[in-house]
Amino acid sequence: MEAYIFDALRTVRGRGNNKGALLGITPTHLTVTLLDELRQRHQLKTELVEDLILGCVTQVMDQGANIAKTAAQQSGYGDQLCGVTLNRFCGSGLEAVNQAAAYVKSGFKDLLIAGGVESMSRVKMGSDGGAMAMDPAVALPGLFVPQGISADLIASKYGYSRPDADAFAAISQQRAAVAQSEGRFNRSRVTVKDINGFTVLDNDENIRPETTAEALAKLDPAFAMIGEMGGFNAVAIDRYPEVDHINHIHHAGNSSAIVDGAAIALIGNETAGEKLGLKPRARIRSMAVYGTDPTMMLVGPAPASRLALQKAGMQASDIDLYEVNEAFAVVPLRFMDDLGVPHDKVNVNGGAISLGHPLGATGCMLLSTLIDELERQNKTTGLVTLCIGGGMGIATIIERI
């Protein structure tokens, strides 16, 4: 049995701080905005949808107490619609899609909605606590470091320089600006409106088309101080003693932007599609997760992608387009070198550096961007991959129908 993607939508992304356009919009509202849009676009028989799987990383406050069921209830899809919230950190949105696909392929469920949401302006990153960073019994033997230090460690170990990262970031901004101005996001991207129906935000708020590598070169490194004061540079070198010092190349301009947003995908089997009268846009060919060491943490996309390719019986060169989450510039840079993939196949419409990374939603957002772009270029195969905190990678391979 195949798992088909009938549609994939995402909200616009607002800056995730007190000046962001979506600050006053709750994550429930963001999610319901997409559920409404999906219903309207397809005159969806919502009573056929069995479950809503949402990725969400910081599950406290607005996002606590199972936001998936909260949004399901609020959506008016019917009481039958269940909801489950999951957390695979930055891979959550894609994990939701993969779990939905696995339910469908196994035959246990016929039609689901999967995606993710994160209002980073309202629910601060890290406010959910957790043992990984602050329980000495875990963090000390685990050689925990913050992700920014991991990113700088990758740069230091593999020799990526500040200009490498800034150049990549500038390209991300340029590509996103072109994509936005050419309307490439229009198919999947949904405007966020207030309770009166007035538009709150109809564009991705974070894109800065004027960005140049030269301008980025002027920014101060973001993680130099915490690396020194928190002892984390030393922790990283304890784990990787071949590294002489941590080269702090990352800053606000070449790391993913903190934003608000949500994304969903409608996933089901052939019969469900027939009942809905919907033609699938793509099918999910394979998926994988792969764990890496928790200190370096962010090099998982390459091994996860290899595993997904292997399960699909494919080579890296068989993939037409890649979406590699730009958590930090060094992540896609390392991915491209590790897998031998050219930059013109990767993140052709920009990525999290330019558009932003709403933690729980991004995986599903990348999926919608990829399907749109495969259709636009009339290409067939695509791979979405994200690096994940704690040392994981996730990858999904899709194929247009």
Partner: protein, 714 residues
């Protein structure tokens, strides 16, 4: 009316006419007041009686000794009960008893007249109020993590509840011992008085006027200063604290980690349940091999050595009133400084008056630094400096009790000054050489009285390095050994006694460390990795940096003087030659060694190393690199023991810790083999012999010990 209620060998109790009890700790059979099982029992019984006595309004806990309570009785800690669960139960029972005192409704005041450290300060924290004499010599705090433990009798919980998580963690993790004024400003104590006489009246006044008998942790309205664990402040303190703990300890000090765990797991719990969590972690820390190693070597062995336990019996104390030093170079000048500091008259002789004065100027500089820091006053500076007499006259050695020769490492020169000095020195006086490379028995050939000829090997810088290696030549008498030990204890350093051999013990073993570093580099391990792995294991300096310090040219010189070079020594020699001859990289002294030494900047590994010694990160994993560096030192130490260069494993452990910074948590070179597991150690050395060369060959006797399941320490 004054009643004398209880007197035993732990304490005495008096109750005055106003109902204020003086519970006076006075452990008459012990050198000082210590926190022990017997003490706890006596204290609780006395306190319970006072609580039951309706006449008593409050209890002042005083001390009749110089210390208030100096800390836990390590004799007990060094001989832990085999039943660990019983120990846990014992701690929990004691907590119950002390909690009953805290909640009795009667105020307890700690009246601190002397050191309140470790268990002593934990006792003070069970009191409702703490007053200390404002004497800068008094220390208050928690030194436990230095011995691999942490405050395990409530201190890890009560202190943060009292002063906040972050400041309490600083005291605990940095093993802070604070002066009373600092302890007051940091909140560890509540009030200061100027003299011991004022303590009891001040305590009494507080009881009669305020007398609050509720602990903060029993007060539901109390809020921890700085906020709780899950506040942004608390989270930041923990996350950053963990990072910095690894930076500092590289994960080798379980006590420090468990202190953080206690706070993480239990600080928000009700105190009685929290104490249970603390006790479980304490038992785990206390029985950890690291804590046992630190207690055994770092405390017991070092203290025994420091007290001169190694001194041969039947010799009177050899008091050195006047010390002669030949050669006012860096070592001679340092020896002059530490000896004058200990109150000896010092004659510092060099070939010229000018050089001798230069040597004396070194003491002046160190003393001025101390004066600038406020540690000594101008009078003390003058006094100490006046004890050093710079001279160029050999006759000045005439009435010295001991002469230490510290001239250049040149056998002819040394023979000449030996003869010159013995001509004037009293026939029964001891003559010592501070040589670090030349055999004592050879040097003694120049002596007319070889029985009085001995090696006293200081380490550089002399004022900082606590170890002194005493080297026994073929003809050195027991009396000379006894005298040398007495001298070293007089200058408050730690002696170990070793028999004559090339490099003695410390230089010989440490040479294998620098050598192994060079071989790793030559084989293709990146220099950065070698240096970082060494530091991660707890060595103070990487092998390549240390080689730079002593200089590659000295290394070449030493190897050239070896009767025969082994294959691996030949490889080191070639490597050093390549560095020195082909690239002019002699070491730190010419600013170019394995490292570059930019003027005014931090040293950095020489980029040219990568071309000279092509490397591959994946050639060896870091565990193998680390084990090669430490195993080779342990193995060489065992050879020293087998060849009778070392007279005991204790000397080896103490010497390795204090002489070249072998990681303290291992307990030293012999203790390290137990720590790794002797069978595993032998198996790994066998593997290394196959892969890396014969220098890892295991002596038969060591193999036998391993096969028999023996340990160096039970």
């Amino acid at each position: 009316m004054t009643t004398s209620a209880i007197i035993n060998n732990q304490l005495s109790v008096d109750i005055d006419s106003e109902g204020i009890a003086n519970l006076c700790i006075n452990q008459v059979d012990a050198p000082t007041n210590l926190f022990s099982n017997d003490f706890m029992q006596a204290y609780v019984e006395a306190a319970q009686a006072l609580i039951a006595d309706p006449e008593v309004k409050g209890i002042v806990v005083t001390s009749a000794r110089k210390d208030w309570v100096a800390g836990a009785d390590l004799k007990f800690l060094g001989n832990p009960p085999a039943d660990r669960e019983l120990m846990l139960k014992g701690i929990l029972q004691a907590h119950q008893a002390f909690r009953a005192l805290e909640k009795s409704g009667k105020p307890f005041v700690a009246a601190i007249n002397g050191n309140a450290l470790g268990g002593g300060y934990e006792l003070a924290l069970t009191c409702h109020y703490r007053i200390a004499v404002n004497n800068p010599k008094i220390k208050i705090g928690f030194p436990e993590v230095q011995l691999g433990m942490f405050p395990g009798f409530g201190g890890t919980l009560r202190l943060p509840k009292l002063i906040g998580i972050q400041p309490a963690l600083l005291v605990i993790l940095q093993a802070q011992q604070l002066r009373p004024d600092k302890a007051k400003s940091d909140g560890l104590i509540d009030a200061l008085v100027d003299s011991s006489e004022e303590l009891f009246p001040a305590a009494k006044k507080w009881i009669l006027e305020a007398g609050k008998s509720t602990q903060p942790w029993d007060d539901p309205k109390h809020r921890m200063p700085g906020g709780g664990l899950m506040t942004p402040n608390g989270v930041q303190t923990m996350v950053g604290g963990i990072g910095n703990l690894r930076k500092k300890t590289h994960g080798h000090y379980p006590g420090a980690q468990y202190a953080m765990s206690v706070i993480h797991d239990a600080i928000e719990l009700p105190i009685d349940r929290a104490l249970e969590v603390e006790a479980r972690y304490f038992v785990k820390a206390f029985y950890s091999p690291e804590a046992q190693n630190l207690i055994r070597t770092g405390f017991f062995f070092v203290n025994e050595a420091k007290k001169g336990k190694a001194k041969p019996q039947g010799h009177e104390f050899y008091k050195v009133n006047k010390l002669g030093i030949l050669g006012a170079g860096m070592m001679g000048a340092g020896i002059a400084y530490v000896s004058a500091k200990a109150g000896m008259e010092v004659v510092l002789k060099d070939a010229s008056q000018e050089n001798a004065e230069k040597g004396k100027a070194y003491s002046e500089k160190l003393l001025s630094d101390l004066k600038n820091k406020g540690r000594i006053n101008a009078e003390q500076l003058e006094e100490q400096l006046a004890r050093i007499h710079a001279t160029a006259d050999p006759l000045s050695m005439l009435d010295c009790d001991l002469v230490i020769e510290a001239v250049f490492e040149n056998p002819q020169l040394k023979a000449q000054v030996t003869k010159e000095t013995e001509a004037v020195l009293g026939a029964d006086k001891i003559y010592a050489s501070n040589t670090s490379t030349l055999p004592i028995s050879t040097l003694a050939q120049a002596s007319a009285r070889p029985e009085n000829f001995i090696g006293i090997h200081f380490f550089s810088p002399v004022d900082k390095m606590p170890l002194v290696e005493i080297i026994v030549g073929e003809k050195t008498s027991e009396r000379a050994i006894a005298a040398a030990i007495d001298y070293v204890t007089q200058i408050d350093k730690v002696p170990i006694v070793v028999n004559d051999s090339q490099g003695f013990f410390t230089s010989r073993v440490f040479g294998t460390y620098t050598g192994e570093g060079a071989l790793l580099l030559e084989e293709g391990v990146p220099a950065t990795m070698i240096e970082n792995v060494a530091k991660t294991l707890g060595m103070p300096v990487g092998p390549l940096a240390v080689t730079d310090e002593v200089s590659l040219t000295l290394g070449i010189h030493v190897m050239e003087n070896m009767p025969k070079m082994s294959d691996s020594t030949r490889r080191m020699y070639d490597l050093y030659q390549k560095m020195v001859k082909d690239h002019g990289r002699e070491g730190k002294k010419n600013g170019k060694g394995f490292y570059d030494y930019p003027a005014g900047g931090k040293k950095e590994l020489w980029p040219g190393l990568k071309d000279l010694f092509p490397n591959n990160v994946d050639y060896l994993d870091k565990d193998t690199v680390g084990k090669r560096l430490l195993h080779i030192m342990a193995l060489e130490s065992y050879r020293c023991l087998e060849e009778n260069v070392l007279r005991s494993t204790k000397d080896g452990d103490v010497g390795s810790l204090l002489g070249f910074g072998f990681p303290p948590y291992t307990g030293g070179v012999f203790s390290y083999m137990d720590y790794v597991g002797l069978a595993q150690f032998v198996a790994e050395c066998d593997d290394f012999t196959q892969r890396f060369g014969a220098r890892f060959a295991v002596p038969d006797s060591l193999r036998k010990r391993a096969a028999e399941g023996q340990k160096f320490y039970p």
